[in-house]
Each structure stands twice: as C-alpha cells, then as structure tokens.
C-alpha cells in the first residue's frame, strides 16, 4: 500500500492569520479520500500547497512521491485539479477551455471528453461569460475527468451542481475508483462524502482533528429524526443507539445510529406516525457535538466557535 499524499506538520500563515496550523494528512493510493471541514477551515489552502501554488512556511508535504513546490510540473502531469470557484476565460467557449486545460496537462481522451459533456449535459459551444456557476464547474470537471491522471484533486467540485448532476458526478468518481485512481475530495457536504469516500479526514481551524474510515466514525453516520405521532412515543430514550431525545407532546426529535434506525422507526410506527423528517447531522452540528468539549477545555465557548 503506497501513499499518494503524505503531509505532516504543515504550517501556512497569511499575515496574522494562521491558515494551516500543523496539518497532517495521509491519502493512500487508490482510495477516495474525503477532506471534510467547514468553510474557512483550510481545505483550499492545503490543496493549493499540494499543487505548488502556495509555499508552506514549515512542515513536510509529499505528493506522488515528489515535492509539490519543486517538482510541480512533473507532478502536474499525473494529476488533475478542479477548483472550487471556477472562473473561465470570457471569450473562450467551454469546449475550448476543456481542451486547453487538457492539452496543457498532457492530453485528454477525446471520446471520454465527448461522453462526459453529454453525461453532464454541457453545451461546449457557449462562451465562458455566458455559463452559470454550475456550468463553469462542469467544464472543469469534464476536463479533469477526461484526463488519464492518476490523482484527482477536487476542491468542493459540486457546489453549483443540481441533484441530478450531483448523481452523475458520484457515478464518475466511483468509476474513477474502479479504474484505480486516487481521489482527494474536499467537501462540506457529509452525505456526498459518505457515499463516495473510503476514508475521511476532518479539518478544523487548520488542523486535522480526526482521520479514518467512515465506519470507524459511527457518530458521523447518525441520522437526525423529527417525527409527529398520534400518541406520545414511550421508551424511546432507552432504545439502543438513540441519543439526544427531545419530546414535546406529539412531536419528537432525536439522533439515531445508522444500524439502529429500524428499531427506532418501528417504535415511531407503533405510536401512529403522522409525519417523518430525517436528515444527516450537519457538519456544524457534528463539530459542536464532537469537538465542543475540546474547545471548551481550551477556553472557547462552543457557540462562539460555530
């Protein structure tokens, strides 16, 4: 098992802001690695250091066995990048931009490029200035996915895509994994990371606070349930895997671990289910819940840190 990305103790400051504060990150070759964190946590800064666009103040970064700053050009032949905020040349068409970036990278698969344009429903004959945010992102995605790069570096690549296109994107990433490519996927959408990633690293305030397989982080796969029932539900809090129950007459709200969902929903059914809303916990909730203690210990109030 080789390591595609190996970062330790990375520090990057911008003036007085400490964007990266001793960051460690390991991505194994062939895996889809989720890079999860709230806005401003340092995801994009890490990626820009890995691409040799920013120079780290201290720490060690190895990308595909090379130094991202000194060997940038050789390394970039082997990777493809999709920025979070894509800005295209106003006068060039989407197709021209795809081919341009592909050629500069060292060539792209023409058949796959056309197929991807179709799958993403992208009109490559439109000028860059006329594309919406989502379409600009599709241009960068098509260009990256049509390459033969062994590493895909994706920085919140679906922020502007609709759910249909999000599904196409997920298919494409799973195909990339089948093909043995390594993917670093930065995101703040937990559900996306859950579906695609083998392992995740959670970053907060310039540090990775947790890293591992998602299954190891059971607390991340908890579902929040809000329900309205005919009769008050009894004994919910005693059920296994149920947490944080808040009941108020016929309304109930609680979190439940994925493996115990059936039992919990059955209990709701028995009480006469009228309405049911379930959603994965938001990142903010997670951070407050799981890292609030640590913050409190450091003298920071959880509310203030959210």
């Amino acid at each position: 098992m080789t390591t595609a990305i190996d970062v330790s103790g990375l520090v990057k400051t911008f003036g007085r802001t400490r964007a990266l504060d001793g960051l460690d990150l390991q991505v194994t070759t062939g895996e889809v690695h989720g890079f999860l964190g709230p806005n401003g946590a340092g995801k994009s800064t890490t990626i820009r250091v890995l691409l040799g666009l920013l120079r780290a103040d201290s720490g060690r970064a190895v990308l595909l066995g090379g130094d991202p700053w000194r060997n940038a050009v050789q390394l970039h032949r082997r990777l493809a990048y999709v920025p979070g905020d894509v800005d295209l040349w106003p006068a060039l068409t989407g197709g021209q931009a795809i081919d341009l970036l592909g050629r500069l990278r060292g060539g792209l698969d023409r058949a796959r490029r056309n197929e991807l344009c179709e799958r993403f429903d992208l009109d490559p004959s439109k000028k860059g200035r006329t594309y919406s945010k989502g379409n600009r992102q599709k241009v960068a995605l098509v260009s990256a996915l049509a390459s033969d790069a062994e590493l895909l570096v994706l920085d919140e690549p679906t922020a502007g895509l609709d759910p249909l296109m999000e599904a196409v994107f997920q298919e494409c990433i799973l195909e990339a994994r089948e093909a043995g490519r390594t993917v670093l996927l930065s995101s703040h959408i937990l559900a996306q990371v859950e579906k695609l990633c083998d392992r995740v690293s959670i970053i907060r305030q310039g540090k990775v606070v947790q890293s591992g397989a998602l299954s190891e982080m059971r607390h991340l796969t908890r579902t929040t349930i809000e329900a309205e029932t005919a009769h008050p539900v009894t004994g919910l809090a005693e059920l296994p895997g149920v947490h944080n129950v808040q009941a108020e007459a016929a309304r109930v709200r609680f979190d439940v671990d994925g493996e115990h969902l059936t039992t919990a929903v059955r209990a709701l059914g028995e009480a006469g289910l009228r309405s049911l809303v379930s959603h994965p916990p938001t990142l903010e909730e997670l951070f407050l819940r799981h890292y609030g203690d640590e913050l409190a210990a450091n003298g920071v109030r959880a509310e203030a840190a959210s």
Partner: protein
C-alpha cells in the same frame, strides 16, 4: 380605484430612481481617496504649469519665438489651433498648449470613474446584490452620473479658482472661467459617452476601451483640423474647448454643444438601460467552436488568443494615427518657407531637415502611446492571476515560467508590432505624399529604435508583478512621466536630466539624428534584467487568487 391607480403610477415613476441617494453616498465613500487624488493632481499640474511660464519666458521675444514654433504644423498638431499667437501671452500659451492635453486627462478620468461604478460592478456580480435591494432601474446610472459629473464640476471650479488667483500676468478671471468651463464640458460629455458605451458592451474593459478610443479620435480630429484649415477641429469636443479662446478673446458659444450632446446621450443611455438585462450587453454573445485547436493548448497560443482583439484594435488605430501624421508631411515643408524662427530652430542641429525633425517628434510620440498597449498587456498577467484563471493552468503541467513567458511574449512582441505598425503608417503616409519610397524604410528603421524603450516599460510592469504584485498599477508612473516629459520638456524648459530618466529620452531621434547603438543595447539589457527579476520573483511567491 382612481386613487389607487394614481398612486401606483406615481410609485412606478419614482421607482426607477429609488436608492440613487444611497448609491451616491456609497460611491463617494468608496472613492474618498481616488476622486480627491484625481482632482488634486489635475489642479496642481495646471496651476503648476502656468507658474513656470514667467521664469521660462521672461521677455516678449522669448514668447514670440515660442509662438512661431507653434505656427508650424508640428506645433499645431501637438498643441492647438493657435489663437493669440500674434501676442503670445502666458494666458494664450495655457489656452493653446495646456488645455488640449488637460482635456484628454479630464476625459480619461471621467471614463475610468464612470466604468468603475457601473460596468465593473456589474461584471463582478456585486451590482446584482445592489439591484436586488430597493434600487430602481436607472439608479445605478444616475448615481454614477451625479458622482462623476460632480467631480468634473468641482475640478473645473478649483481650476478656475487656482488659475484666477495665481497672479501670473495675463491670467484673467474671464479667461480662467473659459478655461475651466471648457474642461468641465469635455469631462461631462465623456461621462455621458461612457454612460452609453457601458450599456453597449458587456465588459468593463470593453466599455472603457470604446470610450477611450473616442478620446483618441477626438484628439486626432483636433490635431488634423488644427494642422489644416480647422474644419475637422469642430468635430472634436477638445476642439470646442479650445475654440472658446481662453485668455485671448473669450467666446462663450462653443461651450454650448458639449452639454447639449451630453444630455442627449444620457437620454439614450437611459433608454438602453430599460432594454437590457442586468449583466448583459446589447450585443448578444454567439456560440463558438465546440473544441479547442492544438495551438490554443500552449501557453503562447492561449496568451495570443486572449490578447488578439486588443492587439488588432491597437495596431489598426496606431497605423491610422501614423498614416494621418505622415500624410501631412507636405504641409510641414511649405510651412518652413516663411517662418524665420523655424529656420533658425532647424539650423541649430546641422544636417537635420525640418521634415526629419517633425518625423522624429511624431515617432517618439507614437512610440510612447504604443507603450500604453504594452503595459496593459503585461498587466494582464496580474488580471489572470487575481481572477483565478491562472490557477487551473498552473495546476497543469505548465511551469510558472512557461505560463508567464506566453503572456510576456505577447506584451513584448505585440508592443513592438504596435510601434512598427504606427511607423508603417507614418512611413506610408510620408512616402506617398513626398513621392519618395525611401522614406518608408528610414521611418520603419527609426521606429525599430523605440522598441527597447517600450520593453523597459514592460520590464517595469513585469518586475512589479513578480516582486510587488499588489503595486502593479505603479507601472503607469514611468509611462505617464515619459509622456509628460516628452511632450512638455520644450514648453516648460525642463532640465535635461528629466529627459534622461525616461527610457524614451535615450532613443536616437531618427531620422535625422545620428544612429547610436549603445543606448539601445543598454535599454534592452535593462529590460531583460527587469523581466528576469520579475520571473524570479514570481517563481518564488504564492499565487494569489480570490
């Protein structure tokens, strides 16, 4: 029912201007440094120029010698129609030689400020936030008109005050009023012109470029008119200001056309605003090729594609500018016949014909103007970087040096091409008028000599880009200095070291003067060192993106 309808109607009318006041205050807050700097720079340089006259031209004889130079077509091309040359007072000098150039800067100020508060905002998407608030359809344009128009009025008033109280002989209050009013009229007209171009073109650079081209046209028409019978000058707003004859025998009616035209243009701008979507221009973009060519997939190919339109426009404009001046060569020859001062001036540098001196002067002016294009092209490096378009390219197997070289090649060789095109125009015009094909090659050769000086200006921009990217706007300082010294060193009798600080001051004044290779080699070496410093700096620093 009726009451409701009336109320709704009133609301709809008031609606299109709602929020103008807030936008005006916002614009003034944003430009609390920029606008005062423009006003102060233009006021002080005006009052500063007039105060040097008594020392530089102490006697009537000195002034009349200057006046005779101004009767030549070269003098007329670079100054004005020459009112009051018989009695060339300090005031007449201001009206003839300073007013025209000042008008260019006032027009430029109006164009840049107006675009900044309209199209630039729209392009960035910030205008969408503003328009979604309680802001009427015409509020953004109206607020910009008030701010830029107001800036012009304040500037005009301060110039009138500054000149009126300068205490320089012959600088009368009536003349100062005509001078300031003429300038303000030009500024207001170009504000209104920009209000229209900002509706037509989708991009801030395009809107400013179109209005800027019209400033160039206004200047060229005036220059051609003043060299000839003056008819063409009446087509130029700058010509109208000069036709007010400040400090000679003030005429007020030429003040009328500019504001009248401005009001009409503002009406057109409002009508156009109602017709288009926020963010769009009136010219709809067409679909383009679905695939990119192989050449586009190289850093140089990309750079050339991005600069193509600007390069074509600049090349064409400078060629025509050169052609216009070249075709006037015959008038220069005839003008020298009956002019004693000119004959003496030419005799000062033996072996120089007056035609050659004229050509050298025009060529140095064309070359300095060409450097504007070269600096704009070099600054594109920074534009691509901050817009975030350099990032995806540099994330491919393209090194920073290679990406930068592509853009640089266009700035360096594109700039050289613009100089050569202007020399080609000048040469063709001169050769055709004089019936001497040899002129073409002499002038092209002379134009080539200015290329190293232009490279130095590009080098400064590149060094700033690599070493102090946030200060890249300072690359204009050298060019503005070179333009000012080049144009006014004669009038203001500046010491020779001021000319030596300008890269264009070291270029041999061909044709006519003796060719000297050394300064050209030195300038090229300096440019190369600056470019190398910029490259080295860029390879070491972080990439900035928003």
């Amino acid at each position: 029912m009726t009451a409701v309808a009336v109320h709704a109607g009133a609301h709809a009318r008031g609606g299109s201007l709602t929020g103008t006041g807030a936008l005006v205050r916002f614009a003034l807050r944003r430009d609390r440094v920029r606008i005062p700097v423009w006003i102060a720079a233009l006021t002080f340089s005006t009052v500063g120029s007039v105060s040097t006259f008594p020392t530089n031209y102490p006697t009537v004889g000195d002034r009349q010698t200057r006046a005779e130079l101004m009767t030549s077509p070269t003098g007329a091309a670079l100054s004005g129609p020459g009112h009051g040359l018989d009695d060339y007072t300090f005031g007449a000098m201001m009206g003839n030689e300073i007013l025209g150039f000042l008008a260019i800067f006032v027009a430029l100020m109006s164009v840049l400020l107006f675009v900044r508060h309209t199209r630039t905002e729209e392009e960035s998407g910030r205008a969408e936030l503003v328009r979604a608030a309680v802001v009427g359809r015409h509020a953004v344009t109206t607020a910009a008109l008030i701010v830029v128009g107001g800036t012009n009025l304040v500037l005009g008033a301060l110039i009138v005050l500054g000149l009126g109280t300068s205490g320089v002989e012959s600088i009368t209050w009536a003349g100062s009023l005509a001078f300031g009013a003429g300038l303000t009229a030009v500024g207001l007209l170009f504000t209104a012109i920009t209000a229209v171009t900002a509706q037509l073109v989708e991009y801030a650079r395009g809107a400013a470029g179109l209005a800027g081209a019209l400033i160039g046209l206004a200047y060229a028409l005036r220059a051609a008119g003043d060299m000839g019978d003056g008819a063409l000058s009446w087509l130029s707003p700058i010509g109208w200001a000069q036709a007010m004859r400040p400090y000679v025998d003030e005429r007020w009616w030429p003040l009328v056309p500019a504001p009248v035209l401005a009001v009409a243009l503002v009406a057109v701008a409002f009508a156009l605003t109602s017709r288009r979507d926020v963010g769009a221009g009136l010219v709809r973009p067409r679909p383009g090729p679905r695939t990119g060519s192989g050449f586009l997939g190289t850093p140089f190919g990309l750079a050339l594609r991005l600069h193509r339109a600007a390069l074509l426009w600049w090349g064409t404009a400078m060629f025509l500018f050169g052609l216009m001046y070249g075709s006037l060569i015959q008038d220069v020859e005839s003008a020298i016949e009956g002019n004693r001062a000119l004959r003496e001036w030419v005799a000062q540098s033996p072996g120089t014909s007056f035609t050659d001196a004229f050509l050298a002067l025009i060529l140095s002016m064309l070359a300095t103007i060409s450097a504007i294009y070269a600096i704009l092209a070099a600054q594109r490096l920074r534009g691509e970087e901050t817009a975030g378009r350099a990032e995806p390219v540099l994330a491919t197997a393209t090194s920073r040096a290679r990406w930068m070289s592509g853009q640089l090649a266009v700035a360096l060789f594109g700039g050289a091409a613009v100089i050569l095109l202007s020399a080609l125009g000048l040469g063709l015009g001169a050769a055709a008028t004089a019936g001497d094909a040899g002129q073409l090659f002499r002038i092209l050769g002379a134009g080539l000599c200015y290329v190293p000086a232009l490279w130095v200006t590009v080098g400064v921009a590149v060094a700033l880009f690599g070493l102090a990217p946030r200060a890249i706007a300072l690359s204009w300082v050298l060019l503005v200095y070179a333009l000012t010294v080049g144009i006014f060193s004669g009038l203001l009798k500046l010491p020779s070291w001021t000319m030596n600080l300008s890269p264009f001051g070291h270029v041999p004044q061909l044709p006519g003067a003796e060719f000297d290779l050394l300064p050209l080699v030195a300038l090229t070496a300096l440019a190369a060192a600056l470019v190398a410093a910029g490259l080295a700096g860029f390879r070491r620093r972080d990439l900035h993106s928003n």
